[in-house]
Every structure is written in C-alpha cells, then in structure tokens.
Amino acid sequence: MQDKIRQKARELLSSGAVKVVIGYGEGTGSRVRALFIQKPEDADRLIMDERCVQNLAVYLTKHEVRAIGKPAIVARMHVIRSINQLTYEEQFNEGDIAVIGISDSNEIVDLPDLKSIKEYAAGNPLVLTAEEKADLGKLETMTREERWNYWIEELSNCIKCYACRASCPMCYCPRCTVEVNQPQWISVPAHEIGNVEWHIMRAMHLAGRCVNCGECTRACPVKIPLRLLNQRIIADIAVNFGQSEEYALAAFNPNDKEDFIR
C-alpha cells in the first residue's frame, strides 16, 4: 500500500493537481515524522506502516502549510474523521484539499470530494473500543474524591506546554481562550488549579468535536492520559444524544433529553 500512496503522490504532484503532499516519513531512530513532499521525485520518502498514527489533519489549518498551495493528505480513519469535522465547521471549501484515504483495513479509499468524505465518515462512526471503555470504567468506579485526587495527581505534572492543543486538529482558534486576557478566563501559569481549568476547558471546547485520535496524549511530554477526559465526553454524548452523524452539540432538537440538568 506504501507503493500505492507514493504513486498517488507522484501523480498529484506531477500533474500540478496539488502543490504538497502531507504524509509520513522516517524520523529519528524508529520514529515517524510528518513529511511535506513538494516534488514528485521525493514521493518515495513517503511511508505507511503501523507506526504512522500522527493526526496530520492538524497541518490543514496552518497558514504556513496552506501558503504552499493546495495540499493532498495521507488520511487514516481518524484523519478522515478530523477532516469531516473541520468541513462541518466550514474550514474547507470544495476543492481546497485532496485526500488519499486509508481504510482501517489498510486499503486506499478514493475520496474525491467533501461529500464522499462525509459519507465515508458516517459509514464508519466513532465508537470507543472495549479497552477504552474499560479504562473509563476504572475511573467510574472511583468515588468523586478519588477521581478528583487522580486528576490532581496526573495534572500536577502538566507544564502548560500546550502540546495537547498544538497537536490537535480541532484546536485551530487563532486566539485560544487561554490567550485572552480581557478577562483572563484561564490562568496561564502551571499551577494546580490553573492546570485543572485548562484541561477541563479544552475538553469542554472539544465536546462533540473530538475524533479520539489520541494525539494529545501522544504529544504530552509528561504522559498525562488526557484522552480519558475526551473519551468520557464521547461516551456521555453517545448515551445522551445517540450515535449520530450530526455534530451533536451544535444541533438542537426539541425532544432532546434534559435529565442531566440538575
């Protein structure tokens, strides 16, 4: 499949259909890093294997990358879901990006337009795995106090580097809430309560938007299990609004449940 991706990249670049292909390449040691291929002859640097998991959709909203010209992106399922969500949030117009889809069974998927991306995402809805549900279950069995202490302990390591935000495709706000100082909604320094405010606020802003790619947790230099916060919300939304292709928290139905308002 790696060869198919290289071939596709070569074609897209030689024909001038795109100016850059965003994919994966060899990094330091056995690491993988994002690659920005601009010449057809460099397409052979693209790789695809089980190490290639970074959510590359984060680069689609960066003006430094968009300044190169129309991009093509090697898109695994979570990247496809991210693109779908970004499209819903009007970050792309038709023809802005080309997508080289990779299915969960490692097949190339042809996604020629935003409609096909939407349909493909709808046909592969986001569900938490059994293992992820089990990890959430561990938190659920804790008392409120135990759970609070668990998070205070984990978040005490947070250095406010914002790697979680920077690596997340959904965090594309030009001025993040924590960067607003009139008023300073969220504390800037890395102290106990400030760290809690930051992570809760970010999780809330991602509610209904997060695609569970886990990039935040991979990016965190001190390995805080941040995705648990987002997964909890994903689970809650599934229970309260059902599995839906609609962006649950932006769609309103008069029959929506209100029993969680206490």
């Binding site: 993988v32 690659l35 430094e64 406010k160 580097c161 914002y162 320094p189 890395a190 230099p221």
Partner: protein
C-alpha cells in the same frame, strides 16, 4: 582544586538520609508512569536506574515553572505590599547529567548579569548539584558537539562516576561540594587512581559549533527556517524540557483584593510571545519563531553572553511531538 574520593556502593542512600535529617530537600530522578522526573526522594531506592536522560530537566528546582514574585493587597486606589514568603530549605539535586550541569552557565549568564535576579540567586545559592556521569548515550545526545563531554565537571559541585563494583568515583569540585562532603566524611573514602574515562559513554562529535555560530548571522533570510519548521506545531515543549531555556512571563492573579504577581515559564515558540497589544507581531509565522530558537542559542547568546545556549542534552528532540531533531537541524545548517 578538585578532590577525588570514592563513595562505596550504598553510600548514596546513606548520604540522602543524612541530608534529609539535616533538613535539606533532596531531588533525584524518579520513574513515574513511563517518564523520568526530578522529584523529592527519601532514599536512593526511589531513584530511577538504567536510563540515558530524564524527561524534564532539574530546572524546576532553581527556576520553578510557576513562582511568586510578590504579594499585595489592593484597596480603594491603595496598594500595600506583603512580606515575601519564607525561603524553602536548601536543596541538593542528585543525578544531574554533566550536560545539565553545564546549562547553569547559561542560566547564570541570563539571570545574574547586569541586574542580579534575587528570586533566582537565592535558589541557586542554596542548591548543591551532585552530578552523575554518563555511562551510555543515545542518538539524541550531542554534548561533545557543544563543548561538553559525558564526564564534564563544569557546573557540578560534586560529580559521581560509577566505577567498578557499583562504587562511585566522587570528584569534589567546588566549595559547596566540599561543604557537603565534609558533612558526611565517613561516606567519602580515599580514591585509588580509578580510570574515569573508561566508564564514560562514547559521544561522537557531530558538528563544529564554532562554524555554526560563525555561519548563522548570514542566514537570517534563508529558506532553511521555512523548510525545517513546516512540521513544527508551535507548542512550548522544547523550551520547557530544556535546561538552558530561561524565558518567562509575568502574570498577575487576584482573589478579591488579594493578589500575587507570578513568574512562569514562557516559550518563543508560542505565537503570542512577541505579539504587541496593537496586533502587530514581529514573528508572525512559525519559521520566524523556529529561527529565533536556533539563533538565540547558537548565535545571539554566544555573541552577547559568551556562552552557547545549548548543552546537547537532546531532551527537546526526544520530547518533541513531531520529531524536530535539533541535532539534525544544526547539522543541516552547518551543511548549508
């Protein structure tokens, strides 16, 4: 002035206990959920073993990620300053690598030159550094390319090198180190001509830092900053794990009419670092910010402070979510 002694296997644990009973705080690398961080320890058994480098540096001990600069109470148009909080007990940091110890030269140059920063000075003056030499390195290490080496004594008060039999060769380098050794003389026995060099990692020199420093001023407008920084996502991880990064922010926080002025870590990688209130930003795009990082460490600091702002510890490259490998980038710059 360096005095060579032997610390027998097991002495480190006794030393920690003695220091603790003397009222000192003792910090050492501790393994916590897959990362290695400097934490307070009670014994040597808590110390992480068999690793190349810690995740975060020990910078937090002398340059906390968040610290109080002053406290105040405000009234109707009035302000009164409160007394500064008491100093914490003196600290001993064990397990600092020679590269980390060398970063003190950078931190001191920034914080003590011209205006002496008392917040910092009070901490560094009351901190004793017990370094531990490196028996192994990995592909991220490059201390020898920036004038360091895996057994360098610069910056440590005492440097331990593990020699045969699990004993440590203890080099007592400074007055502070001597004072600490003198507080537990039974733990430091006579050295017998141990060959330190044979217990050190082989860290190959990978670039000529003087050539890089000479080259950089002419590269300000180069394309290399754009190509290197395309995958950079603009977080602060590299600055925060780095022992030689010293930039900070000042934030006032209040609770009713009581308030504090806090100093906290900041990073030139953030978009708003240089943003004017007017909306003008001299470093609008990430390539300009990436350039600043490299220029600051390898050009401006050598020029203005006579010290290279990078010690080759490799933490930034290991921690970077997108594998920005500073060693590779500097080699690429050298080859331009």
């Amino acid at each position: 002035m360096t005095d060579k002694k032997i610390m027998k296997k097991g002495s480190l644990d006794e030393l920690i206990k003695k220091l603790k009973s003397g009222g000192k705080r003792v910090f050492a690398p501790v393994e916590k959920g897959g990362k290695i961080l400097f934490e307070e320890v009670d014994s040597a058994s808590a110390m992480a073993a068999d690793y190349v480098q810690t995740t975060l540096s020990a910078k937090d001990v002398i340059l906390p990620r968040c610290e109080e600069m002053m406290r105040f109470t405000t009234g109707q148009g009035t302000v009164s300053m409160e007394k500064a909080p008491d100093m914490p007990p003196p600290a001993v940091v064990i397990g600092v690598r020679p590269c980390d110890a060398r970063s003190l030269a950078v931190v001191n140059a920034v914080y003590l030159k011209d205006y002496s920063d008392a917040l910092y000075k009070s901490k560094i003056d009351n901190t004793t550094i017990i370094g531990i030499s490196c028996a192994k390195c990995d592909e991220y290490c490059f201390c020898t390319s920036v004038n360091g080496n895996p057994g360098d004594t610069e910056g440590s008060d005492i440097l331990l090198t593990e020699v045969d039999g699990g004993n440590y060769l203890a080099e007592i380098i400074t007055e502070k180190g001597k004072a600490l050794a003198d507080s537990a003389p039974e733990l430091f026995t006579a050295a017998g001509g141990e060959d330190k060099a044979k217990h050190l990692a082989d860290v190959k020199v990978q670039f000529d830092v003087r050539a890089v420093t000479a080259k950089l001023p002419g590269m300000f407008d180069g394309e290399v900053w754009i190509t290197q920084s395309l995958r950079c996502i603009g977080c602060g991880t590299c600055s925060y794990v780095c022992p030689a990064c010293t930039c900070f922010d000042i934030q006032d926080e209040t609770d009713g009419n009581r308030g504090v002025r806090l100093r906290c870590w900041d990073s030139c990688g953030f978009g708003i670092f240089t943003l004017h209130t007017s909306g003008h930003n001299p470093r609008e795009v990430q390539s300009q910010r990436w350039r600043q990082r490299i220029m600051h460490k390898f050009s401006y600091q050598p020029d203005q402070l006579q010290v290279t702002g990078c010690v080759g510890c490799g933490r930034c490259s290991r921690a970077c979510p997108v594998d920005m490998n500073i060693l590779q980038h500097i080699k690429e710059i050298e080859a331009q």
